[in-house]
């Protein structure tokens, strides 16, 4: 009879009161533990790797080797525009796909594998070069200067990306953050084969900006 009356009394308590009571109890438990949302999920932390360390990706594995400001272009004849410099980013890129890939997009705004200082240049950039076009990185093979070299599967290839940057954007000694962008394979619906999409950052590399070669007047 007593239990029955207790049950009836509890049943008369409004649901909002129950919800409030649960919230108060949870708050009292969380308080000594430091409150809510103080734990950084490991899954959301981006690994920070050092220059020269390989970052394994699904489409490309990338090692950022160095970054420098230069006024000498690898093509041997381009001259730097007044008020501009070139950012030379040296990478070792391994094509992890099953087919020779073309390097034309390595430094592009939408298919690039790197983003410097969160889109200042590289993937995601909206910066434009001296001719008003998007400042995408032009790829050259380091060993022989081949422009737009093919990236052969499973063969690490040392390339340099050349970006147009305005004077004063960075100075020698600055630390750049180079984000490595990977993509997820999916079955193509418009044609046969595998495509790569859904870009996401997989690591960040802090690189100190060096002084590169300077053109002699």
């Amino acid at each position: 009879m007593a239990a029955g009356s207790l049950r009836h009394r509890l049943a008369r308590v409004h649901p909002f009161v129950w919800i409030g009571a649960v919230a108060v109890i949870a708050g009292l438990i969380a308080w000594p533990l430091g409150g809510w949302d103080t734990v950084e999920l490991q899954s959301t932390k981006l690994p920070v790797v050092q220059p020269g360390e390989l970052v394994e990706g699904t489409q490309y594995s990338v090692s950022v080797e160095s970054a420098e400001l230069t006024s000498v272009h690898p093509d041997g004849f381009s001259e730097v525009e007044p008020g501009w410099m070139w950012l030379r980013l040296e990478l070792v890129v391994t094509n992890e796909t099953n087919r020779t890939a073309f390097s034309s997009d390595l430094g592009s705004d939408y298919k690039g594998v790197v983003t410097v200082d969160d889109g200042a240049v590289g993937y995601g950039t909206e910066s434009t070069g001296p001719e008003g076009r998007l400042a995408t990185g032009a790829p050259y093979l380091v060993s022989d200067g081949t422009y737009l070299p093919g990236l052969q599967p499973a063969l690490p290839t040392r390339v340099e990306l050349i970006f147009d940057v305005r004077d004063g954007t960075w100075s020698v000694g600055d630390e750049l953050t180079v984000g490595i962008v990977d993509r997820t394979p999916y079955e193509s619906t418009l044609e046969t084969g595998i495509r790569y999409g859904f870009p996401h950052l997989i690591a960040e590399v802090p690189v100190t900006l060096d002084q590169g070669a300077e053109a002699t007047p």
Partner: protein
């Protein structure tokens, strides 16, 4: 008992459907290329291309006038004569190693074949492929297929294939690429 013929007919139909399903042509059969296989020293013809392989070898380094090709991998060089039968064309040349497909390298520039061909004017020279060194130690390296075709995805068209065992090829330190030129008859 009257249903027995109907049941047997049903089983026969299901069996027939199963046989059809198991023996139907694959996508490769339906859309794949018509392959002509080539060896060394014999001219073979596809629908639109001709090819005669002379020699294949491996090299650690390649040279051509004004160019030195260093690599962390290894070069596969196939020398031969390629021609177009019907019109101006730029053939696609690749090698398949296991599941991986390596396009002919354009690093040597004008020192390799690969420019457009005029009909009836075959070119002699070499194709060079940059491969990882690991292929030499892999089982896949003993059965590498070089393919010459028009376009890299050949559907219902001809292709010329050559099967190579990389472990049996000459391995040179430095090799000079032959200058491509008009083939002598």
């Amino acid at each position: 008992m009257k249903r027995l013929p109907a049941v047997l007919a049903l089983l026969a139909l299901i069996g027939g459907a199963l046989v059809l399903h198991l023996t139907k042509p694959s996508d490769e059969d339906l859309q794949g290329p018509f392959v002509t296989y080539a060896g060394f020293g014999e001219q073979v013809e596809g629908r639109d291309l001709t090819w005669e392989a002379e020699y294949a070898y491996l090299a650690d380094r390649l040279t051509a006038p004004g160019w030195t090709g260093e690599t962390d991998g290894i070069w596969l060089v196939i020398e031969g004569t390629i021609g177009s039968k019907l019109g101006i064309t730029t053939p696609d040349v690749s090698v398949r190693v296991g599941e991986r497909i390596y396009e002919a390298s354009d690093r040597p520039g004008d020192a390799v074949l690969g420019d457009s061909l005029d009909a009836g004017l075959p070119q002699a020279g070499a194709f060079a492929f940059e491969l990882p060194r690991s292929v030499l130690e892999s089982e896949e390296g003993t059965h590498v297929t070089a393919r010459i075709a028009n376009g890299f995805r050949v559907r219902l068209d001809s292709a010329i294939d050559m099967v190579l065992d990389l472990t049996q090829l000459d391995h040179r330190g430095t090799a000079a690429l032959p200058q491509p030129g008009m083939a002598t008859p």
